[in-house]
Symmetry: C2
Subunit: 232 residues, 2 copies
Amino acid sequence: MSGPEDPLLITNVAVAVDLAIFTIREQRLQLLLIRRSLAPFRGRWALPGGFVLPGEDIDAAAERELREETGVQRDAAHLEQLATYGAPRRDPRGRVVSVAHLALVADAATPVAGTDAAESRWADVADLPHLAFDHDRIVADGLDRARAKLEYTTLATSFLPTTFTLAELRSVYEIVWGAQLDPANFRRKVLASDGFVVPAAGGPTVHGRGRPAARYEAGGATVLHPPLLRPT
Amino acid sequence: MSGPEDPLLITNVAVAVDLAIFTIREQRLQLLLIRRSLAPFRGRWALPGGFVLPGEDIDAAAERELREETGVQRDAAHLEQLATYGAPRRDPRGRVVSVAHLALVADAATPVAGTDAAESRWADVADLPHLAFDHDRIVADGLDRARAKLEYTTLATSFLPTTFTLAELRSVYEIVWGAQLDPANFRRKVLASDGFVVPAAGGPTVHGRGRPAARYEAGGATVLHPPLLRPT
DNA sequence: CGTTTTATGGTCAGATTGACTCTAAAAGGA
DNA sequence: TCCTTTTAGAGTCAATCTGACCATAAAACG
């Protein structure tokens, strides 16, 4: 593009980042919500987010927000840009362009505490309230992205702690996709995918019931060849 | 996110859209470039783009730019948001956040004429000059996206006119992926993909050499089940 | 100590894939 | 006209992959 040659064309635009932060808790896919304490949409639930600071990179702003809201460091979670939402009237106070991000975090590492005072909670994705602004759409887009990316990337491991069993990994897929997978076939495909998972050092788990499962950790791979397709 | 509660936080940010417009001409994947007539990067090639007007939706701005640069209407091409680039120093004049878009257009419908005066050309993707701003990265990201989306969507048809032969469709894949595909196997997979292509009304083509091929047109499908994976 | 539960290894028929072969239908040249 | 060249399109076949199962292993529970 070109620069602001004509200052008259420059709208006073504010740039924000909003985060759709997903995790899996209690066997359910959940999303972090913040209750707005200010107008507009005061009292309404919304995605965590905030303005990009002067001189701050957009990616850095997203990382900062993720850290502020969950205490999660960049390397302990997956964070990627989702899409940018800039309809003229999406914020009644003025032109605000929001660069939405998708974050996947592990359960253990995401206390709701540590937030900047505002009330927050993990909400079941299957039972979300109507959100402020255009955040309903952002969440829908984020869900689509997450579900699709499980097929051809190793992203599912982002929902899990450092080491995990194949049953836990399968559970991630089942919860995100809302479909049952055959344990034996899932194992075969995952183990055949080069670099998806590698055996972890420690011994088996004590899961409580059933035969203890071997522990694995994420391998170096980030894309899956071939993909692990959703059941039709 | 929340609104501009503190006016001091609002940087004077300009929002632009930049377009990576790909087409296939002369059996090569090409990208539309504009030569900058103003500083910065004056004389350097860059992606077409411009500022989002006050009150204009970002998507609308992208459609407008596409129309201005190529004369292509929205429905005759594929246009999607790619990513947003907002590093603080990406534009030396000030903070400019660019919402990059990816466009795929058919050859016939894209004259370089009709442009707003600036010099423009189609450049081979394999032989691009060093572009202004961070446009090299935008192009690389757009290429990755396009190559990946050919696998699991019917996007390849966007490069072709309304009706086309399977050889032409295969050629799109081969040019974008830079790999040869077996004609017979390609045909089998495409015809087996429900709604990818449907036979066109008109008779066969006279291609010049060889047996004339049947004409097809894009079917209603937009995603491919199963995907048409790149050769390994 | 038997029952239940889950992990993990195998089996098998059917579907899919990649590599090829064969025929059809045109153009171009001798 | 007839032969050669070229590409479209149908078909074959072995290797691989997939989904649906079955079987055994290793724990907890009563």
